[in-house]
């Protein structure tokens, strides 16, 4: 369980995080999306006790991160966006060191480490120096490391960045497995579709503010309020334009650039209203052969949400 209450972080006069309120229930996979510099890593650092908030509070499993940081550390597995490894260590030694740091006894580590390596598909690299592993392998190793003390909460800052498509799919499979183990996972990315596939809930953050949150479909609906509609006619294009211009909830009406038999407009009505609109248009004698809504994918949704926000 993760909760933030009016979480704010300022660097001097710059507000990196502005009254963030989040509530993530146990067992939820929560995706945190935002542009570069939105404040994702800042939030994650505060939750991992690496950064003190300027004001507000954050709780992990009920423990206040500023008051009981040590308890919080025992309950989270944190994977930073950028990280290094001790290059003189072999893969097994690397995991062994962190296992020991979490107070796991030696005989348990000896059983645990091969299992973790198996989970992240690195068993064949167990005696390799960490330094020579590829980036994607290091990332998977770091994930294994963050799991070593079996934390209930995972805080993963862009775990899939820099991975090739295949490795991304593998990472997704691993996360699915972790989800099935009942872990609460907080994961960030700036690629929304990637998150949408594996997350139960999504939060969109821009300039330190949470601008939308909820289930993937609810965010989609929230944003589909403004849909683009294309109407194709066999004749009387001008008559159709006059008709649609008079209708409410229609804006940005224009002839389609590519097809001179089609008109396009934005529509903010509900689905029921949309049906009525079509009926009315047909009964008015318009020669409609197609009345279609443009499919907005999540990437567009993201752009839609963050539209008009100054990213500089």
């Amino acid at each position: 369980m993760i909760e933030t209450v009016n979480l704010t972080k300022k660097y001097g006069s710059f507000t990196a995080l502005d009254s963030l309120n989040l509530k993530i229930e146990k067992g939820t996979v929560f995706g945190f999306v935002g542009h570069n510099g939105a404040g994702k890593s800042t939030t994650f650092s505060i939750l991992s006790t690496l950064l003190a908030p300027t004001s507000g509070t954050a709780y992990v499993n009920g423990y206040d991160v500023t008051r009981e940081p040590k308890k919080v550390r025992n309950h989270i597995g944190y994977m930073p966006d950028f990280f290094g490894v001790y290059d003189q260590f072999k893969t097994v030694e690397y995991l062994d060191f962190y296992g020991a740091s979490y107070g796991i006894p030696k005989h348990e580590r000896e059983i645990l480490i091969p299992q973790l390596l198996e989970l992240v598909n690195l068993s064949h690299k167990k005696n390799e120096y960490v330094d020579v592993l590829s980036r994607g392998m290091k990332q998977r190793l770091c994930l294994a490391r963050s799991l070593i003390h079996d934390p209930e909460v995972l805080i993963l800052d862009e775990p899939a960045s820099g991975l090739d498509p295949r490795a991304r799919i593998e990472m997704r499979e691993i996360l699915k497995e972790l989800k099935s183990m009942g872990k609460t996972i907080l994961i960030s990315s700036h690629i929304l579709p990637e998150l949408a596939e594996m997350c139960d809930e999504i939060g969109v953050i821009t300039n330190g503010r949470l601008v939308a949150s909820g289930s993937v479909t609810s965010i989609q609906n929230q944003l589909k309020a403004n849909k683009i509609i294309h109407v194709k006619l066999t004749a009387d294009l001008e008559k159709a334009i006059v008709f649609f211009e008079d209708e409410p909830k229609i804006s940005n009406l224009s002839k389609n650039d590519k097809h001179d038999d089609t008109i396009t407009f934005s529509y903010s009505g509900t689905d029921v209203e949309q049906v009525e609109l079509l009926k009315k248009a047909v009964s008015n004698g318009l020669q409609i052969i197609s009345f279609g809504q443009e499919e907005t994918d999540l990437e567009d949704v993201f752009l839609e949400i963050t539209k008009g926000v100054d990213f500089s």
Binding site: N74, I76, F83, Y86, S101, Y102
Partner: protein, 281 residues
């Protein structure tokens, strides 16, 4: 207590340090430098001495020279070994992860310190066979050897603590290293320079006393080392300053204080201050 000394962080530090080629090279360099000086001394003194044998006075002289060279080596190596302790991990981006483990700040800082010092101690122990020459020809008591090594240890801990502190406070290892060397040069050279200058100034004014030479001398490991061999210098400084309290004791107190303070600051500053906000009511 056991968990503080035998802990995973220290284990890792020692493993990494002794495994690296650089660590091995350090020991070789140290022994080579010291051996060269000893050899040079023997050659020179047997060449110009009356007899081709090594007498107790020469043996003691050689011990003095070796001790000074060893002090120079310690002052030279300690900042390099410690001034990257924390900033190095930060630069290699391993610090964040280490700080999210439940290992306490005390454990992390002390482990960094202990591993650097144990490395230096290893070098000193490795240099012990050289000292056996000195014992072979006499002129040096075991207690002199022990007190000399104690001065090394105290100096080493203080400089190492300063190095770790600067590496905690300063983000960049390069800057932290420069600052640590700067402070070391001041402690070893700057205070000697001040003591000499001010001492000279007051030497000719029989009736005026000044505590300044005492204050600068008690920071200087070379003066302390010398005073361990010959007491006339400290006697002179103490006479000039009119302070009866032994210089050696002041040195120990001040260096222990520096160490404690530097370690304390490092521990405090390693992680962000979390108690900033108090719940009202």
């Amino acid at each position: 207590m056991k968990s503080l000394w035998i802990n995973p962080v220290l284990n890792k530090e020692i493993k990494l340090r002794f495994r690296s080629f650089k660590g091995f090279l350090g020991v070789i360099f140290y022994l080579f430098a010291l051996g060269l000086v000893a050899l040079g001394f023997i050659i020179v003194s047997t060449m110009y001495g009356q007899a081709a044998i090594f007498r107790p006075e020469e043996s003691r002289m050689m011990f003095t020279v070796l001790s000074f060279v060893q002090m120079v080596l310690i002052l030279f190596m300690t900042p390099g070994l410690t001034s990257g302790a924390i900033s190095g991990e930060r630069e290699r981006q391993t610090l964040n992860i280490l700080l999210t483990t439940p290992q306490s700040s005390v454990t992390i800082i002390i482990s960094k310190l202990v591993s650097s010092i144990s490395y230096l101690l290893l070098m000193m122990i490795a240099s012990l066979p050289l000292y056996s020459i000195v014992f072979l020809f006499g002129g040096v008591s075991p207690s002199l050897l022990i007190s000399t090594f104690c001065i090394y240890l105290i100096t080493m801990i203080a400089i190492a603590s300063l190095g770790v502190m600067f590496s905690t406070l300063i983000r960049k290892t390069i800057i932290s290293t420069i600052v640590t060397y700067g402070v070391t040069v001041f402690l070893a050279g700057g205070t000697a320079f001040l003591t000499t200058i001010i001492g000279q100034l007051f030497m000719y004014q029989q009736y005026s006393q000044s505590i300044v030479p005492y204050l600068t001398a008690m920071f200087n490991p070379f003066f302390i080392l010398l005073s361990n061999f010959e007491s006339y210098l400290t006697d002179e400084i103490q006479r000039l300053s009119g302070i009866d309290f032994p210089l050696m004791a002041s040195f120990i107190i001040i260096y222990v204080l520096i160490s404690v303070l530097a370690i304390g600051i490092s521990i405090k500053k390693l992680r962000p201050r979390m108690k900033a906000q108090k719940r009202i009511g």
